[in-house]
Amino acid sequence: MAPIISISGLRVAYGNHEVLKGIDLAIAPGSFVALLGASGCGKTTLLRTLAGFTPASGGSIRVEGRDALTLPPERRGMAMVFQSYALWSHMTVAQNIGYGLKLRGMPRDKIGQRVAAQLAMLGLTGYEQRSVAELSGGQRQRVALGRALAVEPKILLLDEPLSNLDARIRVQMRHEIRSIQKKLGLTAILVTHDREEAMVMADLVVVLDQGRIAQMGTPEAVFQRPASPFVAAFMGAENIIDCEAKRNGAGIDLRIPAIPASQLHCPMSSSEDVASASVAADADGPVQVHFRSEAAFLREAGASVAATLQFPGRISQVSYLGSGYRCEVNTDCGAFFVDHPTRFAPDDGVTVCIPGNALHVFRRDLSRQAAPAKAFQ
């Protein structure tokens, strides 16, 4: 299917500061794309450039084959939900939602019907004459969504729409927005810094880092097969061990120089195979190995578990997560956080076990500040 939006070589600069440094992205019609990244990575700038509020300094944006960069915002046919909601306080809920329809010259009674239908879909029936100032955060968010959807856009832009909501309503709205998007067959582009939100809502996750696309793919691919140490850390694999790697047939041998007894042979099969470790193509010799706290587990000191990278450590801190305990473990190769279902006491000796398929192996970035190894014995 031809992409509804194709962005190529897009550059945006504020003065001398280049915020987007060449973005190439094709978005299929009806898909839900999440632009994910830390603050300052350019994700909001990309959305604002799509909407026409920020001028591009290079590259192109084509919407349904037509050049969009030369069009003013009102002619781009994209409806946006703002982070601040940007509702008009001098208008009622009905006037807010009906604004776009009024601009399109729709007769008053038809606007009334369309507004009522929007409110019904969003569970706000009977709120027509309310002032937006009287609404709760969640209700404002729905009105902002209704205002954007009322004009029946093909493309919906969402700028961190859920970041101002309570945790509970936020989780509920994720699913609501996703199901509305599917039902209406919209193409949606979501800007978020929340990786869980991106994965729950999107078909395609685009991770941005310093104005460039660091990786894009399905939520599974980005989560299981991060393409770079940055993406691995951003997607939650923040524990890092420095290892020595050696290619060995169809696999790779990992050795922790600080703990000679600790080594593991990781078989490698096709890169999509979730059961095997994710190993960067250029990983050989000095490498950095990332793993998630929840993917590792702890055993009593001296235990041995097959097919894991294991090394001894000592608990230094324990905190309760609800689903289990997050333990900070000091080892000879650094300090790590490991989740464990039962409680350990501080100062307990343990064995840290990381299953081979939970490892993300990258060539070592020598400029990275190595975690100081805390002696535990």
Partner: protein, 275 residues
């Protein structure tokens, strides 16, 4: 002992506060009270603390048609309303333009409106009168309105610029995003959002015009007579009763206008003025 030393400063503070509040009340309400007494005093000579004879005799004099006070009141109101209309006409586009941070020489433009206030009013008004004489504007309502507007513009443009600057730019973008042209977004979002600030500036301009004296004196007299001129004449002649009654009359349109505009001014939006 310790309880006493703690209570003493407290007591002293309370007394000090009462005295300060009392002084403030005298400063604000003293002249007003004095003026109110003068309006109903028929005879009041030194060293009497209060009028010797009370009554409404001077009210009859002021309201006689040949006294011209009512005509002057209407002239004042018409000029004030025209001045408000003109200053809004200028300050809305000027304030909107000056609210854009990207406008070059923004500070210079804002200062230009302040300039007429920086020089002695009489010098400015004498020279305006000379120019207006050449243009045939002397002695006309239009001429007086223009003189008043020059003084009102500094406030109305500055307040309007602050009001437009406080409009959330995302609200304007939201209108553009849904299909509004820049003009349509201005009319349906920027203008209503800035309206409370614009109303506040209208009050200022109305009050300035209603009180204005020296510009009217140089440009308007003798064809155009406003209430402040009547009042000053009476005061110079030592007729404090007439001066006080005209001052009270001048309060009526001020309060009426404020009540009218107050409908648009909620405290929460007033707080946004100047941000």
């Amino acid at each position: 002992m310790s309880a006493l030393t703690q209570r003493l400063p407290k007591l002293g503070g309370a007394i000090l506060r009462s005295v300060l509040i009392g002084l403030l009340a005298v400063a604000i309400f003293g002249p007003l009270l004095n003026m109110l007494i003068w309006t109903v005093a028929e005879a009041w000579y030194f060293p009497a603390k209060l009028p010797i004879r009370w009554g409404f005799q001077f009210w009859h004099r002021v309201f006689r048609p040949e006294a011209g006070a009512m005509a002057a009141l209407w002239t004042s109101i018409i000029i004030a309303l025209m001045t408000v209309a003109l200053s809004l006409l200028v300050s809305i586009p000027a304030g909107y333009a000056l609210s854009r941070r990207t406008l070059p020489l923004r500070g210079v433009f804002l200062l230009i409106f302040l300039l007429p206030q920086a020089f002695p009013a009489i010098a400015v008004h004498m020279n305006i009168a000379r120019i207006f004489y050449g243009l045939g504007l002397n002695g006309t309502l239009w001429g007086v309105m223009l003189v008043h507007a020059i003084q009102g513009l500094v406030f109305s443009v500055w307040i309007a610029s602050a009001a437009f600057a406080s409009v959330d730019s995302e609200q304007v973008e939201a209108a553009r995003n849904l299909g509004a042209t820049p003009w349509r977004a201005f009319v349906s979002v920027s203008l209503p959002q800035a309206a409370p600030g614009l109303m506040a500036s209208a009050i200022f301009v109305f009050l300035i015009s209603l009180d204005e004296f020296s510009g009217t004196f140089f440009v308007g007299v003798p064809e155009v007579r406003t209430l402040p001129l009547t009042m000053l004449n009476a005061a110079l002649e030592g007729n404090y009763q007439i001066a006080s009654i005209t001052a009270l009359l001048l309060l009526v349109p001020s309060i009426a206008f404020m009540l009218f505009v107050e409908k648009f001014l909620k405290a929460d939006v007033l707080a946004k003025v100047g941000t």
